[in-house]
């Protein structure tokens, strides 16, 4: 194929040299990570193979419920990952992550599928699944950053929050500082990505097409929309996460819940 280098299974096996280099680094520097590297290598192989087959089946079947099931699994895994990054055992962390990620993804995908790309039928898996994946990943990161940062801010600024409450502030007003800092911390990486996209790293969607030799103006347009989608998902997810965290951290009588501070 013109300008397209075919990759055989043998080539993939040869690429294990690369991981071998990492194993050597891990051994020489005594990082205690050899086991993790091996497990990670196997997981990458198995997971991508599996996803490849599942996607192929879902694409071939092209049924709304398979697309929906696929999205549900992706959101569930993202929820687990985001919740795991928040403090161990913190009450409500799964619910916060689930609601925030679902909201961010739903708002973004409904807009995109409904009025931007106007995907017909809406469940066309070739479009909806990969695009959702990108939005879900970005939203998951923003949600995880929001919850962990909010928790830390509340711990560090406890006396300041109490001082505001003691002056008659509602919990909404008293937690403005932690809310703001948590959301800023969560959204700045996404906003930075909007600033430098294409200058350092070519986004995945375009890279794939370049390697496959079919880079088109379509791909560029899609990538622009994807960047905006990621921004939307992160923004909505972060806000929904922050509002829920605030509800978790205060009682109805505008008191800080000390059990939330750990």
């Amino acid at each position: 194929m013109n300008g397209y280098f075919d990759l055989s299974w043998a080539d993939v096996v040869i690429s294990l040299i690369l991981v071998g280099a990492l194993v050597i680094v891990a051994v020489v520097a005594r990082l205690g990570l050899v086991r993790d590297v091996i497990v990670g290598t196997i997981r990458t192989f198995v997971q991508l193979m599996l996803v490849g087959y599942v996607l192929k089946i879902v694409f071939d079947l092209s049924r709304w419920y398979w697309t929906a099931a696929m999205l549900a699994v992706m959101v569930a895994v993202a929820t687990r990952t985001a919740a795991a990054r928040d403090e161990k055992g913190a009450p409500g962390r799964y619910r916060v992550a689930a609601v925030a990620i679902t909201s961010g993804v739903a708002v973004t995908m409904l807009t995109v599928v409904g009025i931007v790309i106007r995907v017909r039928p809406w469940y066309t898996p070739e479009i909806v699944v990969p695009i959702s994946g990108m939005v879900i990943a970005a939203t998951m990161n923003a949600v995880a950053l929001t919850t962990t940062r909010f928790r830390n801010e509340m711990k560090q600024r406890r006396t300041e929050v109490d001082a505001a409450l003691a002056l008659g502030a509602t919990s909404t007003v008293a937690s403005r500082g932690p809310m703001r800092d948590a959301m800023r911390a969560a959204l700045i990486p996404t906003i930075n990505a909007l600033m430098i996209v294409g200058l350092v790293q070519l986004p995945g969607m375009m890279s794939g097409q370049i390697i496959a030799g079919v880079l088109s103006v379509q791909a560029v347009r899609y990538q622009i929309v994807v960047m905006y989608m990621i921004a939307c998902g992160a923004g909505v997810g972060s806000l929904v996460a922050a509002v829920q965290m605030r509800r978790l951290f205060f009682t109805r009588r505008h008191q800080v819940r000390s059990d939330m501070l750990g």
């Binding site: 161990k88 913190a90 009450p91 409450l165 003691a166 002056l167 008191q255 819940r257 059990d259 939330m260």
Partner: protein, 258 residues
Amino acid sequence: MTRPKLAAQELDVVRAVRRDGETTRVSVLKTVDLNVPAGEVVGVIGPSGSGKTTLLRALNALEEPSGGHVLLDGIDTREIEPTELRRRVGMVFQTPALFDETVMDNVSYGLRLNECSADKEQLEGRAHECLSFVGLNGGFAARPARELSQGEQQRVSIARALAPSPEVVLMDEPTSALDPTATARILDLVRALRDDAGLTVVFVTHLMEQARAVCDRAVVLVEGRSVDEGALPELFEHPSSDLTRRFLDGRLEREGEE
């Protein structure tokens, strides 16, 4: 005795604490009684860890009582909106806990919350009044609050608590981070709150000499219970409880540290 301005009756506080992912409930206050007559400075004294701060925080509902009552002018504070209660019962913390803004922004914080309609001039006038009450002249207003000395910061925090015109001021060991000169100024201010501003004050301390210096009465807390209560200095001279005597002799603190 006439009805106290502020009172705690058989007050219990159980706090949920989470450690290593496990939530446990800890009983911090057990059937505590406290009477704070209007216009007096009432000390809450006791060894560290005895629940003094928690009692103070329960009085303005920063901490939710799990049993018993807090009464403000005879009304159960559960029936008062917490935001309104805290406007009427102000609080000064152990550390100044100032916001990272100017002195003026700090002092006017409570006013801005409650009187959105008040014009800026009126608001700043009130803030200047409170600043001069704590002995800080107008030059301080525009300065970043966190750049002041600890003693000045604590005075700003007192001005901040006074600005919304509370009826009662709760003070939680307000001198614990201060040098002797700054401490003396704060203690003068505590007396001024009572004598010049006509306020009722609850003053938490673990230092006998401070209680002696500013308090009209005191309640002694030991391990979350109120073990003694009375006018000063009589309470210190004739404690009715053996625990009070041991605390006064400094024996409780030392036993606690063992």
